[in-house]
Amino acid sequence: MQPVDRRQFLKIAGLGGVVFASGLGCASTKSDMAYGAGQDEFFFVQLSDTHWGFKGAPNPDAEGTLPKAIAAVNALDPQPDFIVFTGDLTHTTDDPAERRRRMARFKELIGGLKTQRIRLMPGEHDASLDNGAAFKEFFGETHYSFDHKGVHFIALDNVSDPHGAIGDEQLAWLKSDLATQKPDGRIVVLTHRPLFPLYPQWDWATKDGAQAIAALMPYQHVTVFYGHIHQENHFKTAHIEHHSAKSLIFPLPAPGSTPKRVPLAWDPAHPYRGLGFREVEAESNEYKLTELPVAKA
C-alpha cells in the first residue's frame, strides 16, 4: 500500500470522504483565537469496534479487516501523534479462555502499528461479562486521563458494568480529574457508549451519562469521541459535541430506522462499505474530522 500524504489525504476526504469541522468554540471570536493561541496542532486517529473474533455473513473478511485498517493507518504520512481504539476491540464470548486468546491476538496485531502510542478502552463485548477483568490483564486500566499538547484527554469506562453505567466511583474520579482543569481548557472525552440517550430502545445510551455530561458542562471546550453504534453520528448537548465512529467489522442501521438493530448486509460489489476509521486534527480552535475507508475502493 502506498503512503497517503497530507495533500492526497485531503483530496480523498474532499472526493469520497467527509471532512467535519468540529468547532471547539464554533464561531471564531476573539476569545477563541486567544484561547487557541500557542497551542500545538496535532492529529490522532480513532479506530473503533474491531470485534476481533467475530464470524458471520455481515463481514466475510472478518479476519482481514483489522489488518487492512492497520495497513491503512501505517500508510498515513505523517503518522498520527497517537491512536485511540474506542472499545469493542474483541467480539464477546462466554469462554474466558477464548476471550483472552482474542485479546492476545488483538494485542499482537496492533503491535504492527507504526505508531505505538496507543490508547485503548473497552467496549461491552470486551468487558461486560467479567467487569473488565480480562481487559485489565491485557491493556491496563479502563479509565484514565492524559494530556497531549495542551489538550486534556479523559477515557471513561461505561461498559465494565453490564448495565452500561459509569458508576458513582468513576463519576467521583471524573469530577476530581476535571477539578484540575481550567474552565476554558481543551477537554476531549473518549468512551464507548454515547453519553447521551441517542436511542435507548436499542441500548444506545449510558445509564448515568447525564451525570457525566453535567460534570463536563461547566467546561467551555469539550468534545466526546465514542463508538458502539458502528456509524458516524454527530450530536450536541448544549455546547458539548459528541462524535461516534464507524466500525471495523460491520455497519449498523441508523438509530430506529429498522425494526431491529441487525448489521447491514455485506455488499460484495462494495466490500467494506460503511466501515472505516477517522483522523482527528486538533487545530487552534476546532477539530477537523476526516473519515477514511478501511481499504481502497
Partner: protein
C-alpha cells in the same frame, strides 16, 4: 351491627372491587424474549411477570418508562397501565453475551 348497615356492606364491597390486572408472563433466555410481541389495550392494567431461564437479563422499555433487572431464580413483577396506543420497543439492557443485541421485543397497545 344493625340490619341496614349489614345490607349496605356487600353493595359497597362490590362497588369498590377492582378487576385483577391481567398477568402476562415473559420468559427471557439467551437471546430472546418469549413472547417477543405483547398485545395490550390502552387503559387495561396488567402485570408483566418476568423470569430468566439462564443469566441475568434486563427489560427496558424507555418510551413506557419501564425497567427491570431479571435475576435468575426470581419472578419480577412490573405492574403498569398503558396510557396511549402505539408500538413500543423493549430490549435487554444488561449485556448478556454474543446475541445480546438480538434481545428485543415490542409492546403493541391498541386503542
Amino acid at each position: 351491627m344493625n340490619r341496614r348497615l349489614f345490607l349496605l356492606l356487600p353493595l359497597a364491597g362490590a362497588a369498590w372491587a377492582q378487576p385483577e390486572p391481567r398477568v402476562i408472563a415473559i420468559r427471557a433466555k439467551k437471546f430472546e424474549y418469549m413472547p417477543a410481541e405483547i398485545e395490550l389495550k390502552a387503559g387495561e392494567p396488567v402485570v408483566l411477570e418476568l423470569t430468566t431461564e439462564d443469566v441475568h437479563m434486563g427489560f427496558d422499555a424507555p418510551e413506557l418508562g419501564l425497567h427491570a433487572d431479571i435475576i435468575p431464580g426470581r419472578v419480577v413483577r412490573v405492574p403498569f397501565t398503558p396510557g396511549k396506543p402505539g408500538s413500543f420497543e423493549f430490549a435487554c439492557d444488561v449485556f448478556c453475551g454474543s446475541g445480546h443485541e438480538d434481545m428485543t421485543g415490542v409492546i403493541k397497545v391498541a386503542a
